[in-house]
């Protein structure tokens, strides 16, 4: 009896406490909304939004619904996160490896890079790039071409757009290449396990990845043209580039700040991972006669990646969440478009803030679930 009370009383109390808090908040919200004449509901999502968004990946105008505005914001968030993740990974791996270099100067430069960018608040870095550094760029008419065809100006970065014909054929070819690479890998693994023969899979994979899409150009009727940005005079002193793709300065500032900031954390993960593989492993691998390349590929990397990947994914998640700082420099991400403009117009605070939070929560939990599954999969199974 005593045991049962000990077991159930705290639980009942805890549940009661939570229920009471939620009840209290709900009742308050109910009375507040009644008093102000606001009704709760998600019907506003299908209404006309009647505001414009500066930068959008999909067709969007003021006559579209709030739901579409939400989608625009979400896609912009995912875009900036995706680009930043790529850059921060490249930078992070380079810096992480550089921190382990035997060269005193390289090691210390990398260490100072990490200390420098890690210890300045991300918001200040975004502000710095957006309000100070990017504002010092030249005006469109004075910009010099980078790589001949792209223009970095104070109004944004202009790059050539790709104009495809029969894009789907090209994509199918790419897909076919990927599938054949997977088949090839399985076959090679099988061959190695059963007969002990080695096939240079990487070489074949790269060849496949290049040749198959190339064939589509020759036989599939695929063609690719570049639309170059052209300088155009708007008025006497105002110029702009037309054609091509224009990346707004907000996006550039965000990508710069996010990737520089997060790369320091990725670098620390990479360093910890490589340091985490014990020296004995390397020596043992060398002593059974593996070449240095094989040691790296077959012994060090599989173990290091097991240590590196989970915290790095965590950093990617942080980056995605940090991309919400975009709202501070008016990059139209989920928070600005939906929790900012849409909320201001509809006044549906509870619904909109909940939807925004739930969206981020879904992204986080999905990635966390995938990570857990992955961790279970690669776990060393000890007997």
């Amino acid at each position: 009896m005593n045991n049962i009370i000990k077991k159930f009383l705290p639980q009942i109390l805890a549940i009661l406490f939570v229920v009471l808090i939620f009840g209290f908040l709900t009742i308050n919200a109910q009375t507040n909304m009644d008093n102000r004449g606001i009704d709760f509901g998600f019907g506003f999502l299908s209404q006309e939004s009647s505001f414009d968004v500066q930068f959008s990946l999909i067709e969007y105008s003021g006559s579209d619904s709030y739901a579409r505005a939400f989608l625009v914001g979400l896609l912009n968030t995912l875009l900036v996160s995706f680009i930043s993740i790529i850059f921060c990974t490249i930078l992070g791996v380079i810096i992480g490896v550089a921190r382990l270099s035997s060269n005193y100067l390289i090691k210390n430069s990398a260490a100072w890079y990490v200390e420098f960018f890690r210890n300045i608040p991300l918001l200040l870095q975004i502000f710095f790039w957006y309000y100070a550094a990017l504002r010092a760029l030249p005006l469109p008419e004075k910009a010099n071409a980078w790589f001949g065809v792209t223009y970095m100006t104070v109004k944004g970065y202009y790059i050539p757009a790709m104009v495809w014909e029969n894009l789907n054929v090209f994509l199918y070819c790419g897909l076919a290449a990927i599938i054949s690479i997977i088949v090839l890998r399985n076959y090679a693994n099988n061959l190695r396990d059963t007969q002990g023969k080695q096939i240079p899979v990487l070489l074949y994979s790269i060849a496949l990845l290049i040749i198959l899409p190339l064939l589509s150009f020759l036989f599939g009727g695929v063609s690719l043209e570049f639309e170059l940005p052209q300088l155009k005079k708007l008025s006497k002193i105002s110029y702009i580039y037309e054609g091509g793709i224009s990346l707004p300065p907000e996006l550039i500032a965000l990508v710069l700040a996010l990737s520089l900031y997060t790369s320091t954390f990725v670098a620390e993960c990479v360093r910890a991972g490589i340091e985490g593989v014990s020296k004995g492993q390397k020596e043992a691998a060398a002593s059974v006669g593996l070449t240095p390349n094989q040691v790296l590929k077959l012994v060090i990397m599989p173990q290091a990646l097991r240590i590196i990947i989970p915290p790095t994914t965590n950093q990617y998640l942080n980056l995605t969440k940090n991309s919400s700082l975009a709202a501070a420099i008016a990059y139209p991400d989920l928070v600005l478009v939906f929790a900012g403009t849409a909320l201001m117009q509809t006044g549906k605070a509870i619904e909109i803030v909940s939807i925004t939070m739930l969206t981020y929560l879904t992204i986080s939990l999905t990635i966390a679930a995938i990570m857990n599954w992955y961790n279970k999969k690669i776990e060393i199974k000890e007997k």
Binding site: A14, T31, N103, L122, L123, F127, R135
Partner: protein, 423 residues
């Protein structure tokens, strides 16, 4: 067959080789330095691209001539081992040296030589460099926000008092030490709150009332992060214990809480505190914006704290729990006297890191209209009398935050090292 290699030294001729090598490196460095500082190109007689590559090639040859496995000369061996192990490393070494030399003059010019600090209007800034006058004039605003100038001593006194009270633990008598945790967890926050409320807010003891809207600048950063830290720690401890509890209801409530806050970005939490939270409060119940923000950040940060503490709890060996139980200790006795003292010691570096993240996150309160340092910068930047000095402002703020955060991260490293050896 003996391979002949002019550029490879051996132990007999290393002396000559190293002298020639260091001479070549010196020439390449002199070339780059004269290029950067004096704007003269010593190698202009060479054709275009070769002229710019010249120092690199020369330096590489020089370093190559100095490279030897073992020479007996201590300096040379150290140099070879650290920056000159192979050609690739030598190139990187030279490139880093060159880029440092190249970057020095423009940044020095901008930051110091061409900069202005005298005067107190925009007109004083005539040079092409930075305008530190702007920082000088706005310094008090950056530190104290819109807080009235004549009352700044109140903020200073309050901070000194709070810090002094924080150090009480160091000087406490031995027989009182067992109450230290009680002091830091319960008494200290209350006293700190009273000090800050009565001194900074004022309203009584003849002090004029200053509303929180006027608070700002770096002092607000400190206030927010201080309160969030002392409140999020006990809350995080409760949820960490809850997550490791055997009782399913408590466990799942804790998991939901932790995963929810960890899954959302702080900016949405702040939005929630500013637009959604008032809807959930009883009618005619007013809560100050600053208090709402502190509550929101505390709830948010408690989840991270909980995960750090859970890590500490998990890393304790099972034997500790078993031993405590076998002595007949109950759940609370076991945790208070055996588990938590050990676990908390383990997680101090982790907590320091959480606190570091918290300090770095505080500029975000700018988005809900509280003007701490980033907010004051935005305000100063748009002031019509001081347009065009965004760069100086952000560099100044970055330096301040960098110093704070760097000091804290170094401190947490030290703590980590200290507690590692004790176990």
């Amino acid at each position: 067959m003996q391979t002949i290699n002019f550029l490879k030294p051996n132990r007999d001729n290393i002396k000559n080789y190293s002298i020639i090598g260091s001479f070549l490196v010196l020439i390449s460095l002199i070339d780059v330095i004269s290029n950067a500082f004096l704007k003269t190109n010593l190698t202009s007689f060479l054709p275009g691209s070769l002229s710019s590559l010249f120092p690199l090639i020369l330096g590489l040859i020089g370093l190559n001539m100095m490279r030897i496995d073992y020479s007996g000369n201590k300096t040379l061996d150290k140099l070879n081992k650290n920056i000159n192990t192979n050609n690739f490393n030598a190139v990187l070494t030279l490139l880093i040296l060159f880029s440092i030399i190249k970057a020095l003059p423009p940044s020095l010019n901008w930051m110091i030589l061409d900069a202005n600090i005298s005067g107190d209007t925009k007109d004083a800034c005539t040079g092409t460099g930075a305008c530190w006058t702007y920082i000088k004039v706005w310094f008090r605003r950056f530190m104290y926000g819109m807080y009235p100038n004549e009352f700044h001593w109140r903020i200073n006194t309050a901070f000194i008092l709070v810090i002094a009270l924080g150090f009480v633990g160091y000087f406490m008598k031995e027989n009182l030490k067992k109450y230290l945790a009680l002091y830091y967890v319960i008494i200290y926050p209350v006293i700190a709150y009273l000090v800050i409320y009565y001194l900074i807010s004022g309203g009584s003891f003849g002090l004029q009332w200053v509303e929180t809207g006027a608070w700002g600048g770096l002092s607000l950063t400190f206030i927010v992060s201080f309160f969030c830290l002392i409140f999020c720690f006990p809350l995080g401890m409760i949820f960490a214990l809850g997550r490791r509890s055997n009782l399913p209801a408590i466990k799942y409530i804790s998991i939901c809480y932790i995963e929810f806050w960890r899954g959302v970005p702080l900016i949405t939490v702040l939005f929630m505190s500013s637009v959604m939270f008032p809807m959930f409060l009883p009618e005619d119940f007013f809560m100050d914006k600053l208090v709402r923000v502190i509550i929101a950040i505390t709830l948010f940060e408690a989840a991270y704290c909980a995960e750090v503490i859970r890590g500490g709890l998990q890393s304790l060996p099972r034997g500790q729990y078993d031993a405590a139980k076998s002595l007949g200790m109950g759940y609370w006795k076991m945790h208070i006297f055996v588990i938590l003292p050990q676990a908390l010691k383990l997680v101090i570096p982790g907590i320091a890191n959480t606190f570091l993240a918290l300090v770095k996150d505080t500029p975000l309160i700018f988005v809900v209209g509280l003007a701490e340092l980033a907010g004051m910068l935005a305000l100063a930047k748009t002031n019509p009398k001081w347009l065009g000095f965004a760069m100086e402002g952000y560099i100044f703020a970055s330096i301040i935050f960098w110093i704070i955060c760097y000091a804290m991260s170094k401190y947490s490293y030290n703590l980590e090292a200290k507690y590692k050896t004790e176990r």
